[in-house]
């Protein structure tokens, strides 16, 4: 995504001390193309007042019915979609919006005619719609949760799970000691259930029972793998209609509710018809179609997770988009370190595939030093540094499957493991970096169908650093206890390794593997060894 720093307006204010401060301000629009409605939010982002919602417009269009039913969007639906987006565009123009993001999720992602649709939208509305991968989408939800609640940090001190129920699927994320460690996607969203069951609904006397069985089945594997010995104290439940349900169930409008209270309400509501339910929750009548499926799904999830407390914030992907933008444009400060979440999650994955922790910590330290050592010329940013760390942690996970094809296995493991907060492309970068740590690096033509040249180069750079660093701990014995880097004359990187032990193997390996680094960066690597006696 392009960062629109240029669009920030500045205006002076005089603070209490009489000093002129410049407040950053911008108007941002977020469009969320969901399975049953298209939403537009206009935000004002300012360094003084944070994020302020200015306008919120929703139009219900059931893309999900087409996608989950027939696999592609009908002509009529696309036309409706374009018309709505065109109207949204004119609302955005009305506010003189300075930047926007328009995102689509699974309902569009899973259509077979996706590219045609995106082109039609571009053509008719001038809007560029991004299609979010599941993890990107969930990360946005997660981000808006983290920003919305001041006590978020406190909540996650206790064992917490975030369950994000969408129309297409359910995302379950588990926290361990303030960090997000696992996240899994189960494909049983409210709308998907409706479409799945619509075929034999009329033969099933008890729709509720049917949904429960379906959900329990899908959940069983997850329970075995991830929930075994876990207890969940707090459940953050994100989903449609939930804020209304909680508002109805509790007297206060905080979004919090105790487990027993909600359970008893659910029991009461299960006896009502969908029409009665929308009435009870004061929702528009068109929501009657989904209300029952959603409710049973929530009830089931709560039983599976078994929390004491439930928090159901009113959340929209649009909010996440705004937080994300505001954070990147440096209008607001982060409330929670999302990078630590990513590191913690990857650490859990590395553990599952029995990666050698001492080894990857060593390699990580060296790799980061090399990365920082050539920072003046490498043209990469903090995010790439994080990706390098992730690649280091996972670089040997392929051995878990096979010693022969470890690099390819590693690639596949990374590509099939969801890490919340990583975009699809970032995952691709990490997976390829891991793969070409050992495999020969192919020419761009090999990737041309998947990657832009820019990303190809990033992979090359990261892989070359990883190769060098990995070589420096070839023996897996962490012989080197300090390394000094010096970047000289713009074309030479000197690495001085201090060790009490003999490092012939490492230096030899590095000597043969530094070639790739030299090719990629145009920097020659000088390896020096300094024998030191380690003080005890």
């Amino acid at each position: 995504m392009q960062l629109c720093i240029f669009f920030l307006r500045l205006f002076p204010v005089i603070d209490e001390k009489g000093i002129v401060q410049y407040v950053k301000l911008t108007t941002f629009a977020a469009i969320d193309i969901g399975a049953y409605e298209i939403a537009l939010k206009i935000f004002e982002l300012s360094s003084r007042n944070g994020i302020r919602e200015i306008d919120f417009v929703r139009q219900s269009i059931e893309l999900g019915v087409d996608t989950y039913g027939s696999g592609s969007l009908s002509f009529d639906t696309v036309r409706k979609l374009c018309r709505t987006l065109r109207e949204f565009k004119s609302i955005m123009d009305g506010y003189q919006v300075e930047a926007y993001r328009a995102c689509a999720k699974s309902a569009l992602r899973e259509t077979s005619n996706l590219l045609f649709i995106l082109e039609q939208i571009r053509d008719r509305t001038g809007l560029e719609v991004e299609v979010l991968s599941n993890s990107e989408h969930r990360f946005l939800s997660y981000k808006s949760v983290a920003y919305q609640e001041n006590d978020f940090v406190k909540i996650i001190e206790k064992p917490t799970a975030i369950v994000d129920v969408g129309e297409g699927s359910v995302q379950i994320s588990l926290f361990d000691k303030e960090c997000l460690v696992t996240t899994q996607n189960i494909r049983i969203g409210s709308m998907r259930i409706r479409e799945l069951l619509s075929a034999f609904e009329d033969r099933a006397p008890n729709l509720g029972k049917l949904i429960e069985e379906l959900v329990a089945g899908e959940f069983s594997a997850f329970r075995r793998l991830h929930l075994k010995d876990r207890e969940t104290k707090n459940l953050i439940l994100i989903g449609n209609f939930l804020p209304n349900m909680l508002r109805t169930a509790s007297d206060e409008d905080t979004g919090y509710i105790a487990r027993e209270r909600l359970d008893s309400c659910f029991a009461k509501w299960r006896e009502k018809s969908p029409e009665e339910l929308v009435e009870i929750f004061s929702l528009p009548a068109e929501n009657a179609m989904l209300i029952l499926q959603s409710m049973i799904l929530y009830q089931r999830i709560i039983q599976e997770m078994n929390p004491d407390n439930i928090w159901a914030p009113a959340l929209f992907v649009c909010d996440g988009l705004a937080y994300d933008f505001a954070e990147r444009a440096k209008v607001i400060k982060k409330s929670h370190n999302f990078e630590n979440d990513i590191l913690a999650a990857v650490k859990t994955i590395a553990k599952r595939y029995q990666c050698n922790k001492n080894h990857y910590q060593m390699v990580g330290q060296l790799a980061i030093q090399i990365f920082d050592g050539v920072r003046k010329v490498h043209g990469m940013d903090k995010r790439h540094r994080l990706l390098l760390q992730l690649a280091v942690m996972l670089h040997s996970c392929g051995y878990y499957i096979s010693f022969l094809n470890s690099s390819e296995c590693a690639y596949n493991i990374v590509m099939s493991t969801e890490v919340i907060g990583l975009s699809h492309m970032e995952r691709e970068i990490v997976a390829n970096t891991v793969r070409y740590n050992t495999e020969d690096f192919p020419s761009y033509e090999y990737f041309a169908d998947r990657l832009e040249k820019e990303q190809y180069l990033i992979i090359a750079k990261l892989a070359s650093i990883l190769r060098l660093a990995d070589a420096l701990d070839s023996s897996h014995r962490q012989k080197c206890f300090a390394m000094k880097t010096a970047f000289r004359d713009g074309d030479t990187l000197a690495l001085t390794l201090s060790s009490a032990e003999d490092m012939t193997l490492e230096l030899g390996m590095a000597q043969s593997r530094k070639r790739f680094f030299e090719d990629v960066f145009g920097i020659s690597v000088l390896l020096k060894y300094k024998k030191v006696v380690r003080e005890k």
Binding site: F11, V13, V23, L25, T27, E37, E44, S46, R48, N49, R52, I54, D55, F56, V57, R58, Q59, S60, E87, S90, D93, G94, Y95, Q96, P243, N244, P284, A314
Partner: protein, 709 residues
Amino acid sequence: MKTEEQLNFNDPKYYRNRELSWLDFNAHVLYEARDKSLPLFERLKFLSITASNLDEFFMIRVASLKDMVHAGYTKKDIAGLSPQEQLDRISVKTHEMIKLQYNTYNRSLVPLLSTNGLHVLASHEEMTDEQKEFADQYFQDFVYPVLTPMAVDSSRPFPLIRNKTLNICALLEKGKETDMATVQVPGVLPRIVTLSQDDNGTTVILLEELIKRNIQQLFMNYRVVSAYAYRIMRNADLTIEEDEAADLLKEIQKQLKKRQWGEVIRLEVDENMDKRLLKWLRRELHVREEDIYKIAGPLDLTVLMKMYGLEGFEHLKTPPFQPAPVPEMIEEGDIFSKIRKGDILLHHPYQTFDPVVDFVRESARDPQVLAIKQTLYRVSGNSPIIKALAEAAENGKQVSVLVELKARFDEENNIVWAKMLEKAGCHVIYGLVGLKTHSKITLVVRREEEGIRRYVHLGTGNYNDSTAKLYTDMGLLTCAQAIGEDATAVFNMLSGYSEPPSWKKLHLAPLWLRDTLVRLIRREAENARNKKPAHIIAKMNSLCDREIIAELYAASAAGVKIELIVRGICCLKTGIPGVSENITVRSIVGQFLEHSRIFYFENASAPKLFMGSADWMPRNLDKRVEIMFPVEDPKLKEEVIHILNVQLADTVKAHILSSDGVYERQDLRGKQRFISQEYFMQEAWQKVKPEDNPVKSRVFVPEMGVDDM
């Protein structure tokens, strides 16, 4: 407590029929026409208003009841009356009313006009020779060329007589044969003809008398035996009144063929009309006996409005009131900075409507304004607001206007300027399917240095600068964030988008307002039961919603003091033991048309105050987009409460609904004469500081030097 529960507040015996109640209201207006303390010409005006009111009542309400009768629809109304029963009672009551109208006209107004130098000749025979000469010349020059006499015989069928036109029918003789003929009194000519003006005063006559005098010229081959005026009203309204149930609509569609299009529902005739002519008209027009009104005087008294307009009688009229400026608006600076200082309350017509027009106009020109959104219901012909909106669109602002095409009688007018707005680049929404948009709201979005700020005007009356001089209405200008957000949501909903997750300050019909009102009334009842202070004051134009009235009865029974200020229809009955003993209803009819809707709820000494566009009628609460908004600024709250109290203190123009269902004027013994509208007129000017009001102040204040500041 028990008795309270046992009572069925929905029992029809606790309700008044809305049509009969409306007729009572018209009687109240007629009372004003008979009020000797009023300037003579004002009395003419009130009499004219009763006549035009009655016309509208027939065209809309009576027509609708007739439809029901024809469709065989027998569902009883709120008071338990079938359509036919209602028609019967209406007929009796309107006959009485018309009698009183003409009594007033003939016995008091005409003689008084004469003493004041305006001689209205009742018939052409009363003219002097000079006047006759003038009249005949006038007839030849102007009237004769535009007349189309139509004789009726076996070869020429009865012609189509147009709705609401004045006609003259004549009995003709040719040898031994008699024939009938009819001629329309041309609408293109002024109905009042000035015959002479001299020291004795002005003498006028009505056009139909001139035609009657010269009618022989129209039927040269016949001898005209006699000629009389008549007027008909047809059931030509194709739309079904929205108040009626949907099942009625179906019923009528089924019966469509049976419906007699353009059926005559009222025939007014000169009381002296020849029996043969009357019989003939009755037969040809298919009128029932009870729908014939024999009139002792000129037909169609709306002509009195024209008489009011005659020049030279200014001393017999109430001098026109000059609306006072709004104090908050006088200071230097743009309107936005004034609103930012605090919410501004507007009380029309005592205070000028200019701030509302300026609000739109300044927004159109202000470079920081991004968008203007407004709902328009009835707009004046040459509206400055429309001009400003068009200008705004031309200046590149995003302008959205919801134009309500279903506004009664205004449809054509609305379409013309709606097209004009569209041409200028405004986004025009032509109403919502199945709903009338009655709310009055304007939203201005402005991009200021510190970010987007929204300015909102909410009102109880239409954005019409002409009626704002005649109707009493309230308005609120605010930039409160919560109201701005709700206003944005209102326009999103009106544009067809989904409703917002929640409302912060505004209460909208048709979805939420009814529930809110019920909740507010119930809370008062609950407070009364718990011996907390409980009090409702509600001012509106009409009250006829069964659910709301039942809630009011329940609240009254629980001990809530309820003071209602209802100008027009009121289906609630006062003074029913155990049901409505704590309810009083007063109707204010005065120089200005009472139009504002204000609602006060005691809320255990933490009063809640609302204003809005909705009456408590089923159509307002269920079939219209209406907004009720809170007044929260403590100072403004005080002011609005003060306004309510002043109206409750009115001893002259407020008539009290008695337990017998009639509006009674108040017994002034031991009381001061106090007229709320006069008080407001004075107060509005007193609020303006003397230096801003050069008219009232004779002391000139020199500009202060800079040093003195």
